[in-house]
Symmetry: C3
Subunit: 293 residues, 3 copies
């Protein structure tokens, strides 16, 4: 698993603002997204593409532990082709594709990346329309390796309204998380628009974590610390994972497929989960994200 | 789009009570339903059919802005055939079919209407059984142009219980709204049984609006004003829609497919949505509903 | 319908503890499950199988009104085959299969039971993984006649967290109940882990009842009385069911297919539901469950 598979915090900024982009690593996010879509007006797309490619490469080189991605415009937009051609670069970790809502979208993205010699880029799909949610089970498949649920755009597409309690998106938010789990896709939870309300972010983020999300979209640097906290394992969880793995490895060396650990049988899926837990830890040696702060 | 596509408030009354039916327009509903099903006992069906046809036609002629519909009994009932034959009339806006739960139901309704020379009638489908919810994605298709979610019947069919918080129907209510959105069907939200509790109706109705419903079933005239309020756009929304459409039309006349409007790209779907918003407005000139009060 | 189709309360205990197993009927559960899975460590499985078979048979013979089941280990585990071979017996009411998540699981269970000459045993499927929930519509089919939703295992599999409010499992819990309703499978609701918190159990159980569940998993004898209370019809409901059935039977004897009862048409499905309501009653003569206490 790549160190980039973590992505507890995914921080967005407009690709049109190179000064803002260069400061993105400061708050300690696991991933940053240089955004060509919502945040950039039509007449700024061309210049923003150049910033995305240049600053994206710069950030990826300077912060190898940081997952650097560029969000292109939706495949159905007039900008998609030029976005892929001019804004992406091999040094990036991946590309974020908003409003994915048909298998053809996923295939087109894969094809475009291949044509551009960028098949190594990870694809993060935005599920944020009625059609995207209704077909999420078929959309989350290779090359898609991560996905976010975009509650604001989804509910706008439904003709509904976002509320603080959020019951209006619970069905969609739950369904996206389940589909992601089934295909091994890293699920990233909805934004919290009120970026100066820490309590709101924590409540909403913990809900997302409870449902099964692994990280959260951040629209402000102040949200990054909170997201990292929400999606990090506790000391107890880390400790248990370390002990479980030690027992499992010992059993394997002894030639046994399954072992008893604290009254439960430990099998390969449980060992895998324990390893994933340890990878989420900020204090593990291979995690250089913290050093970049 | 027909002016009848609005249907923020859909007021029901027993077809067996012509006196009540004649008063229905008074509270200002967007749609009225002359009900042959739940509200009419078996021995009253024949006479109720006659009232539905006569008073239905009378209301439709006197109030061209009002969507007048008749609810027949379920397709599986012994009354369905005679209901279609004797209770419907060409002057009506449409027919409401309760407990739709199989594609065969939809096809049978379409066939019956055609045989009766009534293919012009809109079909409003009741999704209110376990099977209806489980197959809603295939049921909401032509000739169905509108659908309501019947929470009381659904939960009775599930063997469950309706509660005020309503979490027991959130899954079904959300799924029906999503299916409706995908097929362009007008989604109408569940009833509130306690018809003298305005606060309850407002809370429940705003939840439905947040989820994506466009209107609400009303079982009492006092609920109509509340439903119209919940599902009407605000002054700000109307203003924005007018400005957006003006900019879009100007761009189209100049030969451009997409334009920037207040920092966002405006495309055809957004223009369509803006037009739909304006059509929901009570104060637009073509809305004669208010004059009928 | 078998008297065992009731299962309002389904009480679990480790098959490794014959002393505990023998006391299970005391709290008055509708069903008891002698558990070979979670509660029994790997090195205790062989002995636990023997207890399950012996005490299971003993309980079934002594308490014919009690549904006695054995929970085997998951089909994917190394223990499944020996569990079926050594722990089951013809006197049992059924077998509980945890973590059912593929049609192949259901088929393998059916095949194993047939090979063992135990096809008469009822199959209760545990839906408690992401894959199980995602495929629940195809899993709940013969020979599965009952199913439980395992919230703790499901959310662990999702990588999420159980909370008291429980919104993180509402989607899955609702979907399982709907699938069960459609295939006539008896749906049994999630456990409440805090077994000394009656209020918590009542709130959670009433939610499950509202959604459409017919019974609840119990992990402590003190929960049995509460489950029986939650899933029993009220005196009013019983009274109505009795009157409805009387009217229906009278009409049938008179050769009529449908009758009016208190303003509503009564058809066969309603009569069936009324009968099911009466069967849930503790005070009906054929209910010997109470005598066993």
């Amino acid at each position: 698993m790549s160190p980039h598979s973590r992505m507890r915090s995914v921080l967005f900024a407009p690709a049109s603002r190179p000064d803002v982009l260069r400061k993105l690593p400061r708050s300690g996010p696991d991933a940053v997204v240089l955004d060509l879509e919502d945040a950039v007006p039509p007449d700024g797309k061309v210049e923003a593409r150049r910033h995305a490619r240049e600053v994206g490469t710069e950030l990826a080189v300077a912060h190898p532990e940081l997952a650097v991605l560029v969000r292109v415009n939706a495949r159905s937009s007039d900008w998609f082709t030029a976005d892929v051609r001019d804004a992406l670069a091999p040094a990036l970790f991946g590309v974020v594709v908003p409003k994915v809502e048909a298998v053809a979208d996923v295939e087109a993205v894969a094809g475009s990346l291949e044509d551009a010699g960028l098949s190594t880029l990870a694809v993060l799909a935005g599920i944020e329309t009625a059609a995207g949610v209704a077909r999420v089970e078929e959309l989350l498949r290779p090359p898609v390796s991560a996905a976010y649920f975009g509650a604001e755009d989804f509910i706008a597409d439904m003709g509904g309204t976002r509320t603080e309690a959020g019951i209006e998106v619970l069905y969609a938010r739950s369904r996206v998380a389940l589909a992601a789990r089934l295909t091994g896709v890293h699920a990233i939870d909805q934004i919290v628009a009120s970026f100066d309300d820490d309590e709101r972010f924590l409540v909403d983020g913990r809900e997302g974590q409870a449902i099964g999300y692994r990280g959260k979209l951040c629209i402000h640097p102040a949200q990054v610390r909170l997201a990292n906290e929400i999606f990090s394992p506790s000391a107890d969880e880390l400790d248990r994972a370390r002990r479980l793995l030690a027992a499992y490895e010992q059993a394997r060396r002894a030639g046994e497929a399954a072992i008893a650990f604290e009254g439960q049988m430990v099998d390969q899926p449980m060992a895998r989960r324990a390893r994933a837990t340890l990878e989420l830890d900020d204090t593990t040696p291979d995690d250089v994200a913290e050093q970049g702060r």
